[in-house]
Each structure stands twice: as structure tokens, then as C-alpha cells.
Subunit: 502 residues, 2 copies
Amino acid sequence: MDSKLNELKHRLQEIADLGAASSILYWDMSTYMPPGGAASRGRQLGLLARLLHERFTDPAVGHLLDDLQAYGESLPYDSDDAALLRKTRRDYERQTRLPNEFVKALTEHTSAIYSLWEQARPANDFGMVRDALEKTLDYSRQYADFFPGYESIIDPLINDADYGMKATDVRAVFAQLREQLVPLVRAIAAQPPADESPVKQHYPEAGQRAFGETIIRAYGYDFTRGRQDKTAHPFATSFGHGDVRITTRFREDDLTDGLFSTLHESGHAMYEQGIAPELDATPLYGGTSAGVHESQSRLWENIVGRSRGFWEHWYPALQAAFPAQLGTVSLDAFYRAINMVMPSLIRTDADEVTYNLHVMLRFDLEMDMLEGRLAIKDLPEAWNARYTADMGVTPPNDKDGVLQDVHWYSGLIGGAFQGYTLGNILSAQFYERALAAHPEIPTEIAQGKFDTLRGWLTDNLYVHGSKYTAPELIARVTGGGLDVQPLVNYLRTKYGELYRLD
Amino acid sequence: MDSKLNELKHRLQEIADLGAASSILYWDMSTYMPPGGAASRGRQLGLLARLLHERFTDPAVGHLLDDLQAYGESLPYDSDDAALLRKTRRDYERQTRLPNEFVKALTEHTSAIYSLWEQARPANDFGMVRDALEKTLDYSRQYADFFPGYESIIDPLINDADYGMKATDVRAVFAQLREQLVPLVRAIAAQPPADESPVKQHYPEAGQRAFGETIIRAYGYDFTRGRQDKTAHPFATSFGHGDVRITTRFREDDLTDGLFSTLHESGHAMYEQGIAPELDATPLYGGTSAGVHESQSRLWENIVGRSRGFWEHWYPALQAAFPAQLGTVSLDAFYRAINMVMPSLIRTDADEVTYNLHVMLRFDLEMDMLEGRLAIKDLPEAWNARYTADMGVTPPNDKDGVLQDVHWYSGLIGGAFQGYTLGNILSAQFYERALAAHPEIPTEIAQGKFDTLRGWLTDNLYVHGSKYTAPELIARVTGGGLDVQPLVNYLRTKYGELYRLD
């Protein structure tokens, strides 16, 4: 068995290395590539995607998995090798459903629509992407149809990002959350609005960058195994254990955009940096699901980074970095400014309370499109109607409406958005468990110390990479499943105090 | 034939795309990669090198070439397709001589010795790389032996970079050049030395960078299809027609290092940017030989960038950028400072007159090693003795001696150095032809205009990519072969004036 396992591992390492090469090309495309590089970069990425898919779906991999099946089942469930064989089998089953030609065509389509969207968004012209988005919808349905027997057409797409979840599960937790969020949003709306002017002053980029990097260094993001660069749409990306990068952007008229994007991406990156090094270059290297990944970005961005205790420690340093802007602004005023709740147009700018409403409406629109109730040509109108209904604000244009998010213009329709709200729910569940184990964490945060929290997260979540599926991991850590109550409690307590509710 | 030609082109495009992916990973490794990325990057690059070699040496490629042989010969010699088939055949014959295992072992060895050298050079410890360099010498001989029937063991290595040249040719031109250079160096040494203190002041990096980029933009380097980043060892690299990048470094105590490195690399890059777009992603995309490539970097760096006319136009702008450093330095004093001739230890810092002596001694040492007259353990001593004999200066340590150049520590011994001097010779030959066609070029340069020169170089050299071999291209442009006389004339005239010789 040893030689077969070694052969499998060798093949998987090459596949991981090809995947890393592809991620490096994508990172470069998003940070430094000059405009002239776009056409050939799309082709290069398409080729790597195809090679990766060809190598992974090579029947020899299937034979090795077959030959190793009994061996894997004979190992302790928790052993790395058992988990490797389970995860590889799962990925193999999924990938072998997708024909090579489909993967190639989709990759090329994705590059093409992304380039269109990059022009269409600033031009505020949905018409520029409409035909391509029709194709995306068509590809999305084709994708689902490679997995016949689904309950909902979106299930195969969800399964890709959040393995173990189905539309019915997502809908159920979304409904529970919505039921408790909407009254909270209304109660807050009835109070005097917060004043966000302190964060809306002129903040030079260099100072923002230095401050943000000071924080994430304190969090424990390891710059010897990472770096931060600028991009239009912030993301974190891993090329392996030794190289996990984040990207950010800065707006000089808004302190929060760059700062909280940096904290957000550092959460994703610390998850990847914390995976056990012996899992490097295997299918177990990487966060286990979109939702669990997002739980870490939101935990470090919001639960930690927007907490009052956090700013008790860091606010003097921020004032020292921006004395003209914040020298006379009190900690309370600043804390209220960074936690202002206000129904708005843009998901990525949304506060913690209304954020999930942005996600839910996208999820519903995806279902409508996939199930044929909503045509692409009617999407902008449906989008705007839903914002009017849910948020009480109507997008004045498509740039700040249906064109705002990259997801539908850089991948499939379906599967990408639910992870954001699952992440918010999980962030509160995991943080609750961390506090149960270490009640001193809030005190430490207020002293600028994060080792206990990061250590607990590393030991309980990060180190495992993808050894456990998201449902398994959630059960190990919380003893149960998805539960909206910790998030609701957290939001009620925090915003109850901030907005003097009851 | 059309379908076979298309199939071949399709395969070659994939090979070009894999090559570009590999170059992007290398660029990233040299510019932005955090230290933690080193181990996996070596593995990723090794994998891509192997995939590239496997795909190119696939017997199917050989069959296609066989089937298309007669068709290629039936086409006009100058047609793109005829050239494509000739060049691909030549590359295929060479690559198929190299066993896959050799390529893989060499790639891994190269990563390993490069890492050692990165530590050994600052540590001034030749012992750290000695054993690995023995292996490199062994690999270099093995490489040559895959091409039996050579006249000199270095010929297969030269052929790789400067196709069509042999050791006997290199030796002949080197001897001719040396015979005329040595008296010139002696005559200059008998004159009062130039004063380089104007360029050895404190020059803040940002100002150096902005000035250099102004110049290369004026040269015609296209930043929409390229960019400049910082690295330890400057290079130019092409990922295809739309993305040709340069890297540079800056020393704040020396204006010339960053500035002339920028001009140098821009010459390489303008060559690549000027290749006909229809050759993109084929084996014809790329400069035709190391020597011809270097002729363009040296032409834009030295013949243009260190000329008096050039600075008549640009010196006021440089003074305005650095008023404290240069406000009171005359154009003449500055011109003399950037053209100071002085036998020295470091090749990359050498002036135009002594530079080729650095190259010649490396070439001779390579021959001595390959032919077994010089053991690796005796290399530092031989290096130092030769510097003492040729330059009158003895390296005080190996860091500024035998460890100074990356070449032997990142590739084979033999094949890399001769191109530098061939490039210098060719730069003067090509410039002479450009002047014959457009006598107004020097006047235009003195007005800050480069379009006529760049246009002529594009039409006569750049656009062809690798359609013609270097000997063919040289014959087309000059009507003859390599000729040291234009370089000697250029140096005698320029430095005769500068040092008031005769």
C-alpha cells in the first residue's frame, strides 16, 4: 500500500503545484499585470486549469483511489492519510463529472466576462455584460446537470464551496436569521442615526497601510510567509504553507474601507497560514469550506476588529497616526462611527446587522435565475426592486446595483454568496466556544494581545485544513450544527448597547 | 497540411503559455515572493520545466514536423510558416537529445545551487558552493555530450544561446577585439583619471526611479504592455507580446547603477515589445540570440544613454530632479563621470572600454574548466590571478571575485558569457547601419527624440523575433558577419575625445 499511497501523494503534489502556479498567475493579474497582458493571461490560466483537471481526473488516480479504499477505511478516522483518501475521493468524484472541454470553455468564458465587467462597471453599462451573463447562467445550469439527482439546481454549486450544505439547509438558516434580523434593523432605524463623519475624512494611503499592517502583525499574520499588495477587489490567496498573501485597496476619503478589508483578509490568511505544514501541497491544504473560511475573516474583521475592547487598546495609536483627523474625536464617537448601522446599496460596505440581508437577496435572485423565473435581461430591475423592498433604498444605477459584485462576472451563478452569511453565523458560534474555553480573551484583546484567541482557533480549526468537512468540523468544535442564535445574541447585545435599544 | 500545421501551432501555443507561466513564477520569485515561498517555488518551477520539456519533446511533435518538412521547404524562405518550421525543428532536435530525467535533475540542482549562492556570496564563502559547482561542471559536460561530434566541448552550450556560433568563432573575434582594446585601455590609464564624485552622492530612490522611467517612456518602452519593479539582479522578461517587464535596483549612493540598469533592461524589453504580434506564443516570439538581445540593451544603455548628445537634452531635467546634487555640476563634468574608464573588479559596474575584458577572462576560465585544465577548487585562485594580469587589480575576496556573477550558480558553465561581448560588438554594427540609413539620428537624440532610431531597429531587427538566426539577421542588416571594427571605432572616437588621446 505504501508505494501506491506514495504514488498518489506524488501526483497530488504535482496537482497542488499546478494549482499554486495558477493562483500566482491570478494574483499577478489582479495586482501588477499591465493592461496588455490580459489576453494571454486568460489563455495561460485556461491552460493551467485544463492541465490541472486532466491530471486530477486521470483514470490512474481513480485506480489508485480504488486500490487504497480499503486501506483508508482501515486507518483511524482522524489520521491524515484517512482524511486525505476521503477528501481526494470526494474531489475526484466531482471533478470526473466535468468534461475537459467544459472546464476549458468555462475558464475561457470566465476570463472574457471578467474583462467585460471590468469595463462595464465603471461605464455603468449592464448591456455590456448581458449576453455574456446569459452564457454564465447557461454554464451554471450545465454544471449542475453534471450532477443529476439534485434536490435543487443550486445544490451542486453550493456543494462545491460549502460541502454538505443544500438549498433547503441554507434557506432554513437564512429564514431563522432573517426573522430575528429584520426587527433589529427596524429598531435601530427608529433611533437617531450614528455619525460616521470621523471616518469620512481625508486619510492618506501610506498611513492607512502602515496602521493596518501593524494590527495584522499583532494579530499574528506572518509577513515572512506572506505580503500585502493593492488590488481593485481584495482577496487572500495561498500558494502553499510558506506563501499566503493578502490584497487590499484604500480609499483616502474613508478610513474603514482599507482598514477593515485588511483585517478581513488577514483572517482568511491566518487560517491558511495556520494549517499543519505536513498537509502542504495535498488536497487537505486549504480551508475546509467557504463558510468556515469566511467565519475567520469576519471574526477578525468584526467580532475582534470592530469591538470596543479592541479600540480601547488601539485607538490611541490610530489617533497618533492621524492626529489632525482624530485628535479630538472621542473613542466612543469613533466606535459608533465604525459600527454605524444603515441600510445601504453596497454589500461590501454594509454594517454587520444589514450585511446578511444583502446576501439573502442575492441568494434568492440566484435561485430565481437558475430555476428560470428570472431572465438575465430582467435582472437589473429585479435587483433594484428587491433593494427597495428589503433596504428601503433604490440603486440609482447598475454600477452600484447589479454590477457591484465580481462573483457572477468571474464564475458561476450560484454557490458563492451563501458562504458569506454562513461565515457570519459561524464566526459567532466559534467565538462563543473560544470564550467558553478562555474567558480571558476579551480582556486580552483590550490589551492588544491576540495569542490566546489565535492559538485556540489554530488548534481547533486552522491546523486541520480540510481534514474534516465543514459539518464535521462544526460538530467537533461546537458539539452541534449551524446555529444562528450566537450571531443574533452578539448583534443584539452589541447594537442594543450602541443604539440604546429595549 | 493546414490541419497538421494548425495542430502543431496549437501545441506550440500551449508550450509558449507554459513557458510564460514559468516566467511569471520566476518574475514573482525575484520581485515580491516572501522568504517562506522559496521551497515550494523551486518545486513549482521544476514541475513547469518538466511539463514544458515533456510536451515539446512529445514524439507527436516530431511526427508533425516530419509530415510538414516538405511543405515548409516549399514555402518562401522568408515566410512566417517556413521560419516557424525551421526554428521548431531546430529546437526539437536539441530538446529531444536531453533525457527528461536530466532536465529534471538539472532544474532541481539549479534551484539548489542558486539558494546556496544567495547565502555564499554575502558570506564571502566559496566553500559553500564548491561541491555544488563541481556538479554543475559535471552537468555542463554531460549536456555537451548529448551533442556528440562537437569541435569544442563548449560549442553545444554556446549554440543554445548564440545559435550558429562556435568556440573558434568566439575566440577569433575576441582576439581581434582584445588586440585593439588593450592599447586603448593603456592609453586611457596614462591620462589623468576622470572624477566620478558627481554620481556618487546621495540620490533618493524615488527620484531615480521617476527619472529613469521618464527616459524609457521617451525611448518608447510601452508601459501599457510592461512595468518596472525592483529586484536584486535586474532582468527583462517577456510573458508574451502584451506583457514585457523589466526589473531594476537602486543604490542611493550611486546614480548610475539604477539609471543605466533601467536603460539597459528597457533595450531588451523594447526588442521583445517590437516583435510582430502575429508571432506571439510561437517559438519565433523572442529575441533570436543572446548576442543580438544584448546588442539592444547595450545600444540603448551605452551608445544612446551614455552619449553626449543624449545628455545635452536630458541633463537639465536631471539637474532639476536633483538640484542639490547636480545644480552646480557642469554637463561636461557629468558626462565624464558617467563615462569614467577604470579597470575594476565587478563586471556589471565596468565601463564600456574595459567591460569586454571581464567577459573574455570568464570565457577562458569556462574553457579551462570544461576542458579539464582547471579544477573547481582552484577556480578562485585562477580568477584572482587573471584579474591581476588583465586589470591590474586583485580581488580582495571571493564575494567581489568568483562569486560576483549569478550565471555559474544558476545554470551551466559555458554559453552565457560570450553573448555579452557579442552584444557589444553588434550594438556598434547595428548603430552604424542605422546611422547610414538615417544620418539625422544623432541630432534627434540631442533633441530627446528616439522614434527614428527605434523605428529603424523595429523594422530591421525587432519585428522579426526569431524568424532569422543571428547570423542570418546580421547578414540581412549589415551585409556581412560579426565585425569588431565599428565597436573599436566607436570606442576610440568617444574615449579619444574624452581622454584627449593622440
